[in-house]
């Protein structure tokens, strides 16, 4: 991924945030019985304006920048798999329940993603035990010690 291109995308996203927040803030209406109160719009609108100006300056600086370099993403598939598994785990926990069952499965699948196929085949039983130990530790820490019902 090119540094310049990635910077452009990020800055444009932040610029969009600044503009939309500015539009939202400018449409606020409020009532107050306090005298002499400074508008609650003033500070956020000021920040949005500064954000927009800074994004424009940075976009210009990035455009003028001569040198560029590649940002290495050596194992992007593994990171995407982690993100996907985490989203799936959260959805299952939220919508189906059975937290500890899905947690064990989540950890086991993470280990599957992180280890080489050969390694996983060799120590799949150790991974299973490890997932069980982590589930036990989570139960002990959150449920037993901290009394948080998950």
């Amino acid at each position: 991924m090119s540094y310049k291109k990635a910077s452009f995308v990020a800055l444009l996203c932040l610029l969009a945030v600044g503009i939309s927040f500015l539009v939202i803030a400018s449409n606020w209406t409020y009532r107050t019985s306090l005298q002499n109160v400074v508008s609650p719009k003033l500070y956020p609108m000021g920040l949005c304006t500064i954000l927009i100006v800074l994004c424009v300056i940075s976009l210009f600086q990035t455009w003028r920048r001569k040198e560029d370099h590649v940002i290495p993403l050596p194992n992007v598939k593994r990171t995407l798999s982690t993100i996907g598994l985490t989203v799936a785990f959260l959805l299952a926990w939220r919508n189906i329940g059975y937290f500890y069952v899905f947690l064990a499965l989540y950890i086991f699948l993470l280990l599957f993603v992180y280890q080489s196929r050969e390694q996983f085949r060799k120590i799949w039983w150790a991974n299973l035990i490890y997932a069980g130990i982590i589930v036990g530790f989570v139960w002990f820490l959150f449920d037993y010690i901290l009394k948080i019902r998950i």
Binding site: A10, L14, Y43, L51, P74, T86, Y106
Partner: protein
């Protein structure tokens, strides 16, 4: 004699918190790539139900422990555990390669203790005069100090000042989400009741630091196994040449304490600075980088002394000196305590406990370090694929544990993915955290100042204190412009400057 009130300190809760915090800090700090921030963030969700002093000392102990823990992997593996332990690699890892890991770890632990104690004593004796002086400040000054802190962090924490400022402003903006404190207006809540009380600190921190760091680890070779010389990792305290070593440790401690006070500089800068200075005053500068203990003592003392220095502006001015301290400031606010000069009169027992407790965290780090360093050194052989799932699960559940809201897990995770995507683009995460934590204080001071002056902005330039702070802001901006112009003139010099060695 509230100054010497130690009654709150020697309770089971406090002592247990210090031991647990130190243990977690040592463990997380020892792992390559994970620093004090992660240690604090992982413990943060558990502090909400605790007494304020217990929670603060738990996190401070973790901070201190992680600063020393970072040197374990620096010495044993030659890979710095924390950014401030980078310098320790030069002489520490070289000594380890000579089969003297235990000695190098001993130098590091002793230096960390001295640094922690000097930082703690400075904290103990300087915060009260500082707080007394700060009582002269009112809303316009607090607003300007907040801006000064943000500018300093933005200017120092990234190569790109404008991008740093963008994240600082974004942090301030995220800090405005929720109900307005003066009028009750719901701002940027998008109809979500979960956002009415604002964005919680925990999901932001876990997303920004823990998830981003974990994704970075996942990006690396996770099957890589580190090799450790298991025979020689038993810690050996220095017994010879103590006078000279103490001199270098003292030097590092003073530099660390001084640098820590300035927002944005932190342990990395202080350890580099003290290493360079130690090399200059050493009788054997040619042995630096070849296993000279002085090259371990000075930076290791400096990075632990920085913790005390960085803590100093927090209870006195309400401004943190480092992003890890910004998290502590957030803990104060979560417990309904507003840091600032008034804290000394409103919560004297808490302040005494905090100041004396800081010294205890240094001692705990030393004692625990003696016993667990060897064990943690051997544990560094643990491959990343075992470690990442545990940290990922603890981060997710830590967010849930803080308020029991599922919404916050999503918020934190999405935030983490965003930060992972922009992590190499020179945006400053410390500037964001500092801005986010300071946002309510800055806005309140700004609006109260304007209310006092009937909307006149002249209030920010009328008092001598305000003018002095404005002058410092102008100096920081002038230094930035000067450096920028110099860089444009000689691009090669910049490249050399950015290489810390």
């Amino acid at each position: 004699m509230q100054y010497l009130d130690l009654s709150t300190l020697f309770s089971l809760d406090v002592l247990l918190a210090i031991i647990v915090g130190t243990f977690v800090g040592l463990f997380i700090g020892a792992l390559p790539g994970l620093g004090s921030q992660i240690a604090i963030i992982l413990l943060l969700p558990f502090t909400f139900t605790m007494d304020p002093l217990v929670s603060i000392l738990l996190l401070l102990a973790a901070y201190q422990g992680a600063e020393y823990g970072g040197s374990i992997s620096s010495i044993v593996l030659g890979i710095p555990g924390t950014p401030s332990a980078i310098v320790t690699v030069f002489d520490g890892a070289t000594l380890a390669r000579q089969g003297k890991s235990g000695e190098a770890l001993g130098y590091s632990l002793t230096a960390s203790l001295i640094g922690g104690l000097v930082g703690g004593l400075a904290l103990l004796f300087l915060t009260r005069p500082m707080a007394k002086f700060a009582l002269n400040f009112s809303d316009p000054e607090f607003f300007l100090i907040g801006i000064l802190g943000l500018l300093a962090v933005s200017a120092l924490s990234s190569k790109d000042f404008v991008k740093s400022m963008i994240f600082a402003v974004l942090g301030l903006l995220v800090g405005t989400i929720g109900m307005d404190m003066f009028t009750g207006l719901a701002r940027f809540t998008f109809g979500r009741p979960e956002l009415m009380s604002g964005v919680n600190l925990v999901p932001v921190l876990v997303g920004m630091f823990a998830f981003t760091e974990l994704f970075k680890m996942i990006d690396e070779d996770m099957t890589k196994k580190f090799v450790v010389d298991k025979k020689n990792v038993r810690i050996r305290l220095p017994r010879t040449n103590l006078g000279s070593l103490l001199k270098f440790s003292g030097l590092g401690s003073l530099i660390g304490t001084g640098i820590g006070i300035f927002p944005g500089l932190g342990g990395g800068t202080s350890s580099w600075f003290s290493y360079v200075l130690a090399k200059k005053i050493s009788k054997k500068p040619e042995t630096f980088g070849k296993g000279n203990p002085e090259g371990i003592m000075a930076p290791e003392s400096a990075n632990n002394a920085t913790v005390g220095g960085a803590l100093m502006p927090m209870p006195t001015l309400g401004i943190p000196g480092a992003s890890s301290i910004a998290i502590l400031l957030g803990v104060f606010i979560i417990h309904g305590i507003q840091p600032g000069p008034a804290l000394f009169t409103k919560e004297p027992a808490l302040v005494s406990g905090l100041l004396w407790g800081f010294l205890l965290t240094s001692i705990a780090m030393f004692v625990l370090g003696l016993f667990v360093t060897g064990f943690f050194s051997r544990m560094l052989t643990l491959p990343l694929y075992w470690l990442v799932p545990v940290l990922l699960v603890l981060s997710l559940l830590g967010v849930y544990a803080s308020k029991g809201m599922f919404f916050e897990i999503w918020l934190s995770f999405i935030f983490g993915v965003f930060c992972y995507l922009v992590r190499d683009l020179d945006f400053s995460f410390p500037a964001f955290v500092l801005a986010f934590v300071l946002s309510p204080i800055i806005e309140e001071s700004f609006r109260r100042s304007l209310m006092l002056s009937n909307g006149s902005y002249a209030i920010f330039v009328q008092r001598p204190y305000s003018l002095a702070i404005l002058a410092i802001i102008a100096i920081i901006l002038a230094i930035y412009v000067y450096r920028k112009l110099r860089r444009n003139e000689s691009p090669k010099e910049v490249i050399d400057e950015q290489k810390p060695a």
